[in-house]
């Protein structure tokens, strides 16, 4: 699905990403981990086409990412960004309806089919309850659920999540991660995500891409990559692996 070769990116003489190479196949949930400022969001912005590549190449479905138009890309990929602030009282339903924009012709209202997609996505994310409420009056976690509903309404082949659960409580985080995991397995959705919670990352990801100082430290299957030694290397924190499943963070002072 995505192949990245010799990717470099610098901003104002500062090298942010150095020689990144990887290939992501369809139907996998990949999580990018790494300390603050390691280049995670930059990498995500590059593969979503939000930023232009300095050197190296990114291919999406065997074609150069650059060769896609903004519209064509928006019909295949969706992004849930970090902390979107809305300053105008759009209703939540209006926001989710914007997710259908890539498929709709100008000056027309959404047709019945599009509206059904919107309502289904709102049902899945349990946001129907505040459909007619203004997005400006929601809590951070509720707003993130609406933004995920909007991204799902784009019926994407690839879904990018940039800390999409940062304000959500644990109940909804797990509900939505299960929902996405389900879509990955059944509908071959590809998810590329940035997450800070290592326990959840370990539980839900198929693959891990670890970044440190703009370099890719490791990339591979979750069970193989998530080792206490790697976490120590990335974050300088001691953790131990649970006997049965998952990781337990054990901070040491």
């Amino acid at each position: 699905m995505y192949s990245v070769k010799n990717l470099y990116f610098s901003y104002q003489d500062q090298k942010i990403l150095k020689n990144i190479n990887f290939f992501i196949e369809r139907g996998k949930l990949t999580t990018i981990i790494g300390p603050n400022g390691s280049g995670k969001t930059t990498l995500l912005n590059l593969i979503t086409g939000q930023l232009d590549v300095c050197s190296g190449e990114i291919c999406f479905q065997n074609k150069l990412l650059k060769s896609y138009s903004i519209k064509a890309l928006s019909q295949k990929t969706a992004i849930v960004s970090q902390n979107v602030e809305v300053h105008f009282p759009f209703t939540c339903m209006e926001v989710v309806m914007m997710g259908r924009n890539p498929f709709k012709s100008r000056m027309k209202n959404l047709n019945k089919k599009d509206l059904d997609v919107v309502l289904k996505c709102m049902e899945m994310t349990e946001t129907l309850g505040f459909a007619n409420k203004s997005i400006t009056n929601l809590s951070g976690g509720e707003r993130q659920r609406v933004m995920i509903a909007k991204a799902l309404a784009q019926t994407p082949e690839v879904l990018f999540l940039d800390e999409a659960f940062s304000n959500m409580d644990i109940q909804y985080t797990i509900k939505l991660l299960n929902l996405l995991k389900d879509k990955v397995q059944k509908e071959k959705l590809t998810v590329i995500s940035i997450m800070h919670d290592l326990n959840l990352t370990d539980l839900f990801s198929d693959q891990i891409l670890a970044l440190k100082n703009g370099k890719m430290v490791e990339y591979g299957k979750t069970q193989e990559v998530i080792r206490p030694s790697l976490i120590k290397e990335l974050f300088g924190v001691n953790v131990r692996k649970n006997e049965e499943k998952g990781l337990v963070i054990l901070p040491t002072i």
């Binding site: 960004s81 914007m98 997710g99 100008r106 784009q154």
Partner: protein, 352 residues
């Protein structure tokens, strides 16, 4: 639940259409009654006769009416009423556009510095006309040039590596505005006892606007409003930020440029024909957002209708009901400000 929501949506579309229709009818009624009103007492029949006769080019139809009355209707009142409508529409639409574009509910055409540029251009023209004999600069033209030069300066300050960010635009706009206001004050201080000409113009007035002003403003503002309506759904997406809009298929740099140019063009024309009339651009989109929501596809056309209506009402009030004609720009702020505070407070209370 789902069916309910689909129904609510349908009802909303329906309601929006009716509000639009209502506003249009209201504007028509206000248009005719404004022509009827004024110091000279002219009957409704005569007004209709003059309008029909002029349009059909039949002089006999209004030959019975005193010539001075026909002139008052056709050469004074109608152009003034039309300028009021178009300027009000333009100010309201450019306000709505700049608010969404800059993602700032407090923005309007003044935030971008465009109107100060227009005012500065006009001040220079008046200054030159005062002090250099045998030289006559058109105030309208100079205001126009001033607005566009300012837009160019603001955009080039705000541009970083070819990209325009909203916060940079606001900062650049505020800086340029303060420099230009200082420039205007400087010219005022040099003008000495003739300063009142400049002061009066800056206060914003629609007095003695002629057909020439209608012909300058009407086509440009109309075209810009239509362009804004055509691209209004992209503006909705831009309200969520540039990144979101791009992810939803909007060519953001291109779309931003279109709205920036349209919004500034409208402002330049408005300021050049009427001086500084503030508050319409801020208050009209806000009132409508309280009533019908933020969807720019509805907000922009309704802003045009309501903005035209409000400025026309204000202007008719200043010229008909008061003993001294006060500048309409002063009235819009005096009445609009407290009203805005009122709806703002009731809305905030109803939320809690």
């Amino acid at each position: 639940m789902e069916n309910n929501l689909a129904m609510t949506l349908k009802r909303k579309y329906y309601k929006e259409k009716w509000i639009g229709f209502g506003f249009a009818v209201l504007l028509m009624i206000t248009f005719f009654s404004s022509i009827n009103l004024g110091r000279a007492n002219i009957g409704t029949n005569d007004v209709i006769r003059v309008i029909l006769g002029k349009i059909a080019d039949q002089h006999e139809m209004y030959a019975v009416i005193k010539e001075s009355y026909a002139a008052i209707i056709w050469n004074i009142r109608i152009p003034r009423v039309l300028v009021a409508i178009i300027v009000g529409s333009g100010l309201a639409v450019s306000g709505a556009v700049f608010q969404s574009l800059l993602m700032n509910p407090l923005a309007d055409s003044y935030t971008m510095g465009v109107s100060s540029g227009a005012a500065f251009g006009a001040t220079i023209a008046m200054f030159v006309n005062m002090f250099i004999d045998g030289f006559h600069l058109s105030i309208t033209l100079c205001a126009f040039i001033g607005a566009f030069l300012t837009l160019g300066v603001v955009v080039s300050i705000a541009k970083v590596k070819g990209y325009l960010s909203s916060s940079n635009l606001i900062i650049a706009g505020i800086i340029v505005t303060s420099i230009l206001s200082a420039g205007i004050k400087f010219l005022k201080s040099l003008a000495g006892e003739n300063v009142s000409v400049i002061v009066n113009w800056l206060m914003g007035s629609l007095a003695s606007r002629s057909w020439e002003h209608v012909f300058i403003s009407f086509p440009i503002i109309m075209i810009c409003i239509i362009v804004c309506i055509y691209f209004s759904e992209d503006l909705n997406l831009l309200c969520l930020g540039e990144k979101e809009a791009k992810a939803l298929g909007v060519d953001t740099q291109h779309t931003k440029r279109i709205f920036l140019i349209c919004g500034s063009l409208i402002t330049a024309v408005c300021v050049s024909v009427s001086g500084i009339i503030s508050f319409i651009g801020l208050i009209v989109p806000h009132m409508l957002r309280f009533a019908i929501g933020s969807d720019n596809r509805v907000l922009i056309p309704l802003s045009a209708l309501l903005g035209g209506e409000l400025l026309l009402l204000a202007d008719t009030a200043t010229r008909s009901f008061m003993n001294v004609e006060i500048p309409v720009g002063v009235l819009t702020t005096l009445l609009g400000g407290p009203f805005f505070i009122y709806i703002f407070m009731t809305r905030n209370k109803s939320i809690q």
